[in-house]
Amino acid sequence: MTNWKAYRPLLLPPIRGLDRIEVYEQHGGYEALRRVLAEWTPARVIEEVKASGLRGRGGAGFSTGLKWSFMPPPDGRPRYLCVNGDESEPGTFKDRQILEFNPHLLIEGALIAAYAIQATAIYLYIRGEYADWIDRVEVALLQARERGYIGERVLGTDWSIAFYVHRGAGAYICGEESALMESIEGKRAYPRQKPPFPAQRGLWGRPTTINNVETLANVPLIIRHGAEWYNQIGAPKHPGPILYGISGHVNRPGVYELPSGMPIETLIYEVAGGIRGGKRLKAVIPGGSSTPPLRADQIAGVTMDAESLRAAGSMMGTAGMVVLDEDTDMVRVLVRIAEFYHHESCGQCTPCREGTGWLVKILRRIERGEGKPADLELLLEICNQMEGRTVCALADAAAWPVRHTIQRFREEFEARCRGSLFSVPEPIPSTSQ
C-alpha cells in the first residue's frame, strides 16, 4: 500500500451538507439508481456487484453479489431487503458516520440492492441508541420519497418499493441476521436455526437478503464507476474502500476511510497519530471485540484484509480497531469483553448461556488474584465446548477472544494466578496460536 495518501474518500467525502438531497444530487447522487432502473436488468446488477469483489462489511466478509444471487426468482409475493444498522460490536462505530454524513448514499445503495433482488420492501434496522441519527435518516427518507426514488412506480418505471426504518431497543444479538428478522417481526430476538437461510425463508417466511449499512453504501460507487474500477482499490481479494474505526490509546481516534489492505502499523502510527503519551504498543484488536488480539510483535507487515489477518491469526471483522498501549491490563480487558458477551447472550443455547457465564466467573476470579492452578486450561476447555455448537455465532465470538488472549498474553494471566494461594498453573498447550 504505497499511495494510500493519494486516496480520496468516496463513502464519506468532505462535502458540506451532503446529507441534504439537493447537495447529494449535485454530486452525482441517485444517478446510479436512475441508470440501473432505465437500462439494467436485475441480473446485470448482481453480476456487476459480483465482479466488483465487494465483500460484506458487517463482519463475516461474504461476497455481496453471491449473496444476492441466492434469492429465488420472484413469484409475485412480498420479498425483502433488510439493512443491518444494529452496529453493536464493541469497537465499531462506522455505520453511524454514514447515517450522519451521507445517508443518501446508503438509501441509494439499498434501493439498487432491492431492485437487484426484486424486493418489495426495505426495512432499515437501526439500533435504538442511535435515536438522534434515526431522526436524521427519516428526514433523508422523506426527501427521497418526495423526489420519487421511493414508493409506487419509482421514477416512472413499473418498479415499486417501500422503505421503512425499524428502531431497535438495545440488544446486541439483533445484529445477527436471523435475530434481526425476529426483532422486526416484533418478537424477542432469538436467532433462528439455519438452514433454511434467509434467502429461502426470511422475514415472515419470505425470501430476504440482509446487508450491512457500509456494504450497501458501496453499491452506488460500483454502478457509477464500474466493477473493474472498484476492484482496483485496495487488496485484490478484499477490494474497496474501508471505514476503519480506530479507538483506544491513539492520539487521533475516529473513522478513517482508506483502501482495504492498509498495514496495521500505518493505521496506528501514521493515520491515527501513534500511541497516546508516546507509549509503546501492547496489542491491537483488529476488527471489533470478537476478533483475536494481536501482540505488538505480531503485526509487522500485517494488512487489513481477510487473507492477511487470517494468516496472522485474527480476522477483519468490522475493521473497528482497538489499540492498547503497554500499560493495559489484558486480564481486565478480557474480563470486560467476556462480560459483554455474557450480557448479550440470548440464552437459547446451553453452551453459550452457561459458557459465557463461566468464562466471566473464572476470569473475574483470576483478576482478583484468586485463580486456581487449572483455571487457564479450564477456560480453554470451556471455549472448546462453546465453539461451533450453537444456533448462532455469538458463542464463537465470545470464545475467540478468550482463547487467543490467554494464549498470546499467557504470562500476564499466569502472573495473576501466581498471586493466589494456589500453585502456578501448568503451561497451556499452544496449538492453535
Partner: protein, 183 residues
C-alpha cells in the same frame, strides 16, 4: 378491567399508520412500545396492558418483548437516565473510574436512582461511539462524548437546571496527510 392508561385519537392514528408498514400487527409492537414509553415514561403493568389491548396481543407477549430489550424500562427510573459506556474502548480510556466518580457524586450505586428522583445511573455496553469515548447516553437518545470528571460535573449541573445538551456532531478526524507535500 378498565385501565387508567389510554392513547389519544391522534396517537391511535399514528399507530394505525405504523401498522401499515408491516404485514402483521405483532410487528408493530416495538414501535408502539417506544411510543408508549415516550408518553408514560416507563412500561408499567397498566401500560403493557394498554399496548396489548391496542394491538390485539396478550400482555404476556408484550411483557416478554419489553423485557428482552434493555432500552425498554419495565421499572420506574429517575428523570435523567445516564447510561455510561464501560465497554472495551471506553473502559481502556478510564470509563470505569468515571462511573465510580458518578456514583460518588450522586451517592448512589450503578443501577440506582437518586432519592430526589432526578438521576438514574447505569453502566452500559458499547454505544457505537468508541472513537469519541468515554461516552454516555442520556434518556435513551442524546450522546455526551469525550467524558471527563469536569465534563460530568458540568453535565450534572446543566441537567439540574433542566438543560438537555444539544446534539453534538463529532466531525470526522482530520486527514492530516492530505496537506503534506508528497514525498
Amino acid at each position: 378491567m378498565a385501565t387508567e392508561y389510554t392513547f389519544s385519537a391522534e396517537e391511535l392514528a399514528r399507530i394505525a399508520d405504523i401498522r401499515r408498514r408491516y404485514p402483521t400487527a405483532r410487528a408493530a409492537l416495538m414501535p408502539v412500545l417506544w411510543m408508549a414509553q415516550e408518553k408514560f415514561g416507563w412500561l408499567s403493568r397498566g401500560v403493557i396492558e394498554l399496548v396489548a389491548q391496542t394491538l390485539g396481543l396478550s400482555p404476556a407477549e408484550v411483557y416478554g418483548v419489553a423485557t428482552f430489550y434493555t432500552m425498554y424500562h419495565t421499572e420506574a427510573h429517575g428523570r435523567y437516565v445516564l447510561d455510561l459506556c464501560t465497554c472495551l474502548s471506553c473502559q481502556v480510556l478510564g470509563a470505569e473510574e468515571l462511573l465510580h466518580y458518578l456514583e460518588e457524586r450522586l451517592g448512589v450505586r450503578d443501577g440506582q436512582t437518586t432519592p430526589d428522583g432526578l438521576f438514574t445511573i447505569r453502566h452500559t455496553e458499547c454505544l457505537g461511539a468508541c472513537g469519541s469515548g468515554p461516552v454516555l447516553m442520556l434518556n435513551n437518545r442524546r450522546y455526551v462524548h469525550r467524558l471527563s470528571r469536569e465534563r460530568l460535573d458540568q453535565l450534572l449541573e446543566e441537567l439540574r437546571q433542566g438543560r438537555i445538551p444539544e446534539f453534538e456532531s463529532i466531525p470526522l478526524p482530520e486527514r492530516h496527510w492530505e496537506n503534506e507535500e508528497p514525498s
